[in-house]
């Protein structure tokens, strides 16, 4: 799975003359965006991110046209498996124009028709034109009953955003939307930097809906700057090293509800709101880990902050 899949052609620029001769290096540095000194700097950051993901493959193939982005990307991420149009089965909701490109709400839904006994196995969120397109992959536990999951993401440029659902028969279905936003990955970190650091690792849990309902909704929040590696320190103007929550596991009692593997696109203070089927357990538990290896654990009564 291409969590760290990097679009080496997307995020950096050099002077146009340097791209006339498409050497191997020239290809790597070609860019779809206007050339300019600020993009050259982004390039440095991009390479730093590239090093972070050096264990995964880098694609230095010729730059695709924007409309061609998805096909090769999907082919890489899902290793050539066929993707079916998920209309009526899978949906994705985002605002058409982001209010804040660093905090763009996204909701993914899977609705199986009556009598369809398949379960949701995984959801992959892909922000096609972000420097690291795979924002997150969620894998669901047996009988977790998660059919809706919402989070908030950074969106770096006008882009298609895809969600791909894998069902228990291993079939893949996609849905997509289009978002107008820019600069989300490099937007200055932390509106309130001191508070972010002081509260690192703090968690919050809420439950919504009637306790008697067959399906309930819960929210898990983690205080973390989730630095993308593309943000600059506003005083030194140096890049802040990437450090983000890349693994998360959520349990209802002893049953895994879902696990997540994430890249740099999840917003500061990662926030997940999801439906689930109560299994009678009295506790919820979350474990998260960031790319520096710091671990965060919390446990709450299943009725915490009930709405």
């Amino acid at each position: 799975m291409g969590i760290g899949l990097l679009r080496g052609t997307e995020y950096c620029a050099v002077e146009p003359s340097a791209t006339q001769e498409p050497t191997m290096f020239g290809h790597a540095l070609r860019c779809l965006r206007p050339a300019g000194s600020q993009w050259t700097w982004l390039c440095v950051a991009g390479l730093a991110v590239a090093l972070q993901f050096a264990t995964t493959r880098l694609s230095f193939a010729a730059t695709p046209e924007p409309e061609d982005t998805w096909a090769p990307l999907a082919n890489d991420i899902f290793e050539g498996r066929p993707l079916a149009d998920g209309t009526g089965l899978v949906s994705i909701e985002m605002p058409a124009r982001a209010e804040d490109a660093a905090i763009v709400p996204v909701t993914m839904r899977v609705t199986l028709p009556q009598g369809d006994s398949r379960q949701l196995k995984a959801l992959t969120l892909v922000i096609d034109d972000n420097p690291v397109p795979v924002a997150a992959t969620f894998a669901f536990g047996d009988n977790a009953g998660v059919s809706v999951i919402s989070t908030r993401v950074r969106v770096n440029s006008y882009t298609d955003v895809h969600v791909v659902a894998e069902l228990s028969d291993s079939k893949l279905y996609f849905a997509k939307t289009y978002v107008k936003a820019s600069g989300g990955c490099s937007a200055p970190a932390a509106k309130n930097a001191d508070e972010t650091i002081a509260n690192l690792g703090q968690t919050k849990f809420r439950v919504f809906g009637k306790p008697s309902g067959a399906q309930r909704e819960a929210q898990i929040m983690i205080r973390h700057p989730n630095n993308s590696g593309l943000q600059r320190d506003q005083v030194s103007l140096l890049y802040i090293p990437a450090n983000f929550v890349d693994e998360l596991r959520v349990w209802q009692g002893h049953a895994l509800l879902f696990s997540m593997k994430a890249g740099i696109s999840i917003s500061e203070d990662p926030n997940f709101r999801f439906t689930y089927v109560p299994n009678g357990a009295t506790t919820f538990k979350v474990e998260a880990r960031d790319t520096e290896g710091k671990a965060f654990r919390s446990e709450w009564p299943a009725s915490a902050s009930e709405m």
């Binding site: 209010e99 804040d100 909701t107 908030r152 932390a190 309130n192 929040m221 506003q234 709405m307």
Partner: protein, 160 residues
């Protein structure tokens, strides 16, 4: 333009600093996260003129890039500054501290409305669509920043 020189700042103001210009002393004050997390005001004590930067918006809808709770608290402290007039970050020179009232009203409504949505379990997306509508006609550029302010306010206040 060849004669233009950029002079980078050399002095850090932790809380307060004074610059003596000879016949005039300027009081520099740094504030906790409010409009942004790096707001500075300059008070000319001789004429009672406060240069508030973007801690004070008039006519132009306030833009929240720091902390809503911080900004509301800072407004109370700003009001105690003994100035006669303010040069705001946006809008005309105005009397002090009356110039704070419109901004305070908007930010209070924003906070109150967003807290209500969070309490009822509404989403951050819902907040960006409906918050502080009653303030719309009182400000310029309302549509450019109100929904963004609501998003920022929600992601701050949901941690209360």
């Amino acid at each position: 333009m060849a004669d233009v020189k950029i002079v980078p700042p050399t002095q850090v103001v932790e809380r307060e600093a004074r610059i003596d210009l000879g016949d005039r002393v300027l009081l520099l004050q740094a504030w906790r996260a409010s409009h942004t997390d790096n707001d500075l005001t300059v008070l000319d004590e001789t004429t009672g003129t406060l240069f508030a930067g973007d801690l004070v918006f008039l006519r132009h809808l306030p833009v929240l890039d720091g902390s809503l709770k911080g900004w509301l608290a800072v407004i109370d402290e700003l009001a105690a500054i003994p100035a006669g007039r303010v040069v705001p970050g946006h809008g005309p020179v105005a009397g002090w501290p009356a110039a704070l009232e419109d901004e305070r009203t908007y930010l209070q409504r924003l906070a109150q409305h967003v807290r209500g949505l969070i309490k009822r379990g509404e989403t951050i997306g819902a907040a960006s669509q409906s918050v502080a509508e009653s303030e719309r006609t009182r400000w310029e550029l309302f549509d450019e920043s109100n929904a963004r302010n609501a998003t920022a306010a929600y992601s701050e206040l949901e941690w209360e």
